[in-house]
Structures are given as C-alpha cells and as structure tokens.
C-alpha cells in the first residue's frame, strides 16, 4: 500500500504544534516545576528556597496526618468506585429491559452527566443543608443527627453520596451500550439453557460485560482520586479543619492555604506516579484481555 506523505518535513510538525504547545504549557512545564520544587523548601513569603533533597518526601511518609488522608482517600475511592459501578449496572440492566418510553428514561438517567462537579457539590450542600436540607431531614427522621461540615463521618458520607451520584450516568451509558452489544441470539440461547434470570445474568451477561466493566473500573478510580476535587471543595466549604479530604485536595490545601509549596509539590509528584502506575496497569491488562467478537 502506498502511504500518503508530506512534501516537506515541516508540515506535519506544524500540524502537531498546537496540540504539543498546549501539552507542554499546561502539563509538562508544571509537572517539571512540581518535580523541581519538591526537592526545595520554599520560604512562605516567596523570598527564597533551600535545597533539601528528599526531605519533603520523608516528611510526608512520617506524617500521621498525611497517612490519615491517604487512608481516607483509599476508602473513599473504593466506596465511590464500587457504588457508582454497582448502581449504574443495576440501572443499565433494568433500562435495557424497558421497552416503552426507553428513550426518555435513558435521557433522564444521563442528565446528571452534564452537571459540573462544583455544581454537583453545591446541590449536595443544598440537599444536606442544616436547617432545611431534605436529606438532612430524612436522616433526622431516622434519628440520625446529620451535620455536614462538622461531623467527619457525616461529611464523608455526603461526599461519597454526591460523588457516586455524579458518576453514575457515565457508567450507565457505558454499561447500557455494553449490554446492547451482547448479541440477541446469545441471550436467547441463554434463555433456553437457563430458566433463572439471576443465573443468566451472572453466567452470561456479566462475563460478557467484563471488558466494559474493567475499563470503567479504571475510569472510576481515576475519577474518585482526582475529579472529585470540585465536590470535596464545595462540601468542606473551604474549611478543611477536621473534615475529610482526598489526597488531591490536600495538595491544594497545603500548597495554596499552607504555603508549603515544597511539601505540596512532593505530594503531587506522588500522585503523578500513582496515575502513571494506573495507566500502565490499564494498558497491560487491556492488552491481555480477550476481545469477544
């Protein structure tokens, strides 16, 4: 096959330029700066910096506060990933069976996807408002004195709830299209082979959804770790105090509130490594996965 080519070698470079410039300015340059400043101790007032080597990193590992936030982030990620996947799967399976009004139903379920994280967080604030929030009242009805922003566990619960709610539509869309790509005849064959709907789901539908599910797992872990920043920020109302927060939010709090640029840079480098590891893991496993035809 003849390959299309460019007459000059500058043309392809010119065409790639806009993308490369954006990546360089908004990703590589800050990332390089973060790595650089993670080895320095910054003067809080910006008057100078001292090279401290790996001290920022060793400080972090010995810091009980950091370990507490890391633990919370882990629990938070597991909860958000699990519930947003599980609920979305349930909704997708149910929506897949709906014949009448299916379009309306699906559109309504996808709507939340369009809500920006801070707005989702703000809606959470309203729902959990201390005096008139409907969810606070509901909790009160069951004897649960829900105090958002004061009680650690209550705030954490709200954070998980809003994050899950925000992520369900994305998972729902993917699961639904995954379900609809399972050949009808395979499902019908299962219908003849197995009389139990639950059995059919676990034996046939679920394994055939596994490639979709795995892809979503990675997407959801990334979401819970990084994209929940807006929700966390809105829910803790900028008053971290005793409130739960994720590692990403702590980068922001330590760097921009605490003016500890070195320590915050070290934290962001750790997160960078984490993302890198996740990406490698994802590509490795996707390569090895069987793609059903």
């Amino acid at each position: 096959m003849k390959r299309a080519g460019f007459s000059t070698k500058w043309m392809p470079i010119m065409l790639l330029m806009p993308q490369l410039v954006i990546i360089a300015i908004f990703f590589y340059w800050p990332a390089w700066h973060a790595i650089q400043s993670s080895f320095y101790l910054q003067d809080p007032f910006g008057f100078g910096s001292t090279f401290v080597g790996l001290e920022n990193y060793t400080d972090l590992l010995g810091n009980s506060e950091y370990r507490r936030v890391a633990l919370f982030t882990l629990v938070f990620t597991v909860l958000v990933t699990f519930f947003s996947l599980a609920i979305a799967l349930l909704l997708a399976v149910k929506a897949d069976n709906v014949l009448r009004g299916a379009r309306t139903y699906r559109t309504l379920l996808m709507w939340v996807y369009a809500v920006a994280p801070p707005v989702a967080g703000f809606i959470g604030l309203i729902m959990f408002d201390q005096s008139w929030g409907p969810l606070t009242r509901l909790a009160g009805f069951f004897g649960w004195d829900f105090v958002l922003g004061v009680n650690f566990n209550d705030t954490a619960a709200a954070m998980v709830l809003v994050s899950v709610w925000k992520q369900i539509p994305v998972n729902f869309i993917f699961f639904l299209s995954g379900l609809q790509s399972i050949p009808r005849s395979v499902r019908e064959a299962a219908l003849i082979d197995n009389g139990s709907a639950t059995g059919r789901f676990w034996d046939v539908t679920f394994p055939l959804l596994a490639p979709t599910g795995f892809f979503l797992l990675i997407i959801n872990i990334t979401y819970a770790l990084f994209d929940t920043f807006g929700i966390v920020d809105t829910l803790v109302k900028g008053e971290p105090g005793n409130n739960p927060m994720t590692l990403v939010y702590k980068v922001y709090v330590d760097g921009f509130r605490g003016n500890d640029l070195g320590g915050s840079s070290a934290q962001s480098v750790i997160l960078m490594v984490l993302v890198l590891a996740l990406t490698v893991f994802q590509f490795r496993l996707i390569d090895r996965r069987i793609h059903y035809t």
């Binding site: 005849s185 003849i192 009389g195």
Partner: protein, 348 residues
C-alpha cells in the same frame, strides 16, 4: 419425543403488523418439518413462538400433550440452533455444551459422559477446551448442535442454521444434520429460505408466504402438485414455468395465439399453465415451436432459455442431447401440466 400442535396460532406485533395469520398444523413425533419461504414470510416468527422467545397473540401451542403458551423457553423441553450459532464467547466448547445440563441439575458425571458422547458424535473431541473464537464456522455450528443434542430435548428447533456457512460446508452439514436427526429420532422444526435445503431434508414441508401457510406436504407433493403459483415458483431450481393461457372447451391457447393442444379439464377462461422444465421434451416435428436464446451448461444437464407465448420459458435437457440455440419444437405431457387460476393463483 413429542408431537407439536398449533391451533389457530396468530402473531400480531404491538404496531399492528400481523406477522403470522391464524395457522394450524400438527407435527408428528420424530418428524422433520421444514418451514420455508422468502424473507419476511413469518417462518422465523413462527419458530420463535414455538421456542417461547416470542409471545403468541392468539391460539394455543402444544408440545407433547402440554399447552405451553405461557411456559418459559427453558421449561419447554426444547433445544434451538441459531443462525449465528449464539455460542457463549467466554466459555470453552465443553462449557458451552454443558451449560444447559448444568442448569438442569444434572449430576456432574452424567454431564461429563453426555458431553463426551456428543463431542465424539460431532468430531469435536480435540476442541473441547477451546473458545468459540478459535473455531471455524463449521466447527462452531457443530458446537451449537452439540449444545442441542446433549439436552435430549423433546423438540429441536433450527433457525437457518446453515446460512452462514459456505456452499460446500452447507451441503455437508445438511447431510450431517439430517443423519443425526434420523439417528436420534427427535421431532425437529427447521426454518430456511433455501428451497434446496427444504426439499432435501424435510419429511414434510410447510411453505409460508406473507405470514400465511401456502401448502403443507411432503417434498414430492410440494414439487409435483404445488397448491398455488407462489409454491410453484418458489420451490424447484429452476422454478416451474408459468405461462398465461386461455382454455376454451379443453383447447389451450397461449397469449400470442399459439395453440398448445387439448387438455382433459373442465376449466374455462384465463389460466396459468405450470410446467416443470424437465417435463418438456424436444421433438423433431409436430410440437410447439420455441426459439432457444440461451443455453446454460450445468454439466449433468443443460437449461435452455427461450420464450413461449411471449413469456420466459425454461427447458431442462440431459447432457447427452446436443442442442444449439435457435428454433426448436417441444412437446409436453398433458398429465404433467398444473393449472392455476389466473386471478387468485390457486390450483384448479
């Protein structure tokens, strides 16, 4: 083992389309029945209703002595082979075959034995640990068959199982399926749009058109005594010649005024003459003249294409009769002519 009885079974889709008009027939125990018709004739819908994959709008369906209208597909004691095989892509061949048994609480050693038996019968022994994606089309088709036979069902349903295979494999599988059905003696319903499959495999053929049963009969009945113009033109390759003619007092006249001779019939007026291409003889003189325009060489025989009474006409001659294009004389045994009503298309 079971007979299948349909009593005025009808299918109307929610959008008002009537896919199958009220149909009744009975399939005897151990019989191999083929539902044949052009696409959209309702044959698959009929099969899917028998399988329980489609609701029955009206009428009753009995498998064995049991009315199964509201019985789940899994409880109808049927096994189905699908057009695109419908194998479970994540399961090995062994698991694919065993899945139906496993869900019916069959003891493990019995599953093992039955799978081994089916694999042997279908030459699948060396592929048992493979996934369907590692098999060829013919092998996948065999796995689908294996999945059906291990279940020992009362009824086999085949939904165009050979249409995804190439011509050579199709001929081979056709014979294998037929032989297998003979050996197992399980009542079978087979859907196809291929009239050759219908003719070669069926004990009885049900010809469908536009959601309606046109004719039910043995392959020979369907071929020699088609009940309508539709059946005559659908069954047989090449199809039956259908020529417009007029009968006055037993004398047959073609559309362009050519006299065909006399027929023993009480029919009068406009008719269609149905003549199988192989019932036409070339004669040296005294026949009806036809101009042969094209000759199709098929090895064992030749097909001569020409026009009779201004309409296309095909003649089948054996290989040892030399023919050239041009004017010829033909004669037709009157007993081999089928008469159809010109307006309704039904047999007279």
């Amino acid at each position: 083992m079971a007979q299948v009885t349909l009593n005025s079974v009808r299918k109307v889709y929610p959008n008002g389309v009537e896919a199958v008009t009220s149909s009744s027939f009975k399939i005897e125990d151990g019989e191999f029945v083929v539902l044949v018709g052009p696409s959209g004739c309702g044959k698959s819908t009929l099969l899917r209703m028998i399988a329980g994959l489609e609701d029955i709008t009206e009428g009753t369906l009995e498998i064995g002595d049991r009315v199964v209208n509201n019985v789940d597909p899994a409880d109808r004691d049927i096994a189905m082979v699908f057009q695109n095989y419908a194998l479970y892509p994540h399961m090995t061949v062994r698991k694919n075959i065993a899945y139906g048994l496993k869900n019916r609480k069959t003891p493990a050693d019995e599953i093992e034995r039955k799978v081994a038996e089916a694999a042997k019968m279908l030459n699948l022994e060396e592929y048992l640990e493979r996934k369907p994606s590692q098999l060829s089309g013919g092998q996948r088709q065999r796995v689908a068959m294996g999945r059906a036979i291990v279940r020992d069902p009362a009824l086999f349903l085949f939904d165009e199982p050979l249409s995804n295979l190439d011509a050579k494999l199709r001929n081979q599988m056709r014979i294998e399926i037929k032989a297998l059905q003979r050996r197992l003696g399980v009542t079978s319903i087979y859907v196809t749009h291929d009239q050759v499959e219908a003719m070669t495999m069926a004990d009885r053929i049900i010809v469908l058109n536009g959601g309606r049963i046109e004719q039910i009969g043995t392959p020979s009945e369907i071929y020699h005594n088609p009940a309508s113009v539709f059946v005559a033109s659908f069954m047989g390759a090449p199809p039956m010649n259908l020529i417009d003619a007029t009968i006055t007092g037993g004398q047959v006249t073609l559309a362009d005024g050519v006299a065909m001779g006399a027929l023993q019939t009480s029919a009068q007026g406009a008719v269609k003459l149905g003549i199988r291409p192989e019932d036409v003889q070339l004669v040296s003189e005294g026949g009806v003249s036809i101009n042969v325009e094209l000759i199709e060489e098929l090895g064992a025989h030749r097909l001569l294409h020409g026009k009779l009474g201004g309409q296309p006409f095909t003649i089948h001659v054996l290989k040892d009769i030399p023919v050239d294009p041009g004017a010829h004389q033909i004669s037709v045994d009157p007993a081999a002519i089928c008469l159809f009503d010109a307006a309704s298309g039904m047999r007279l």
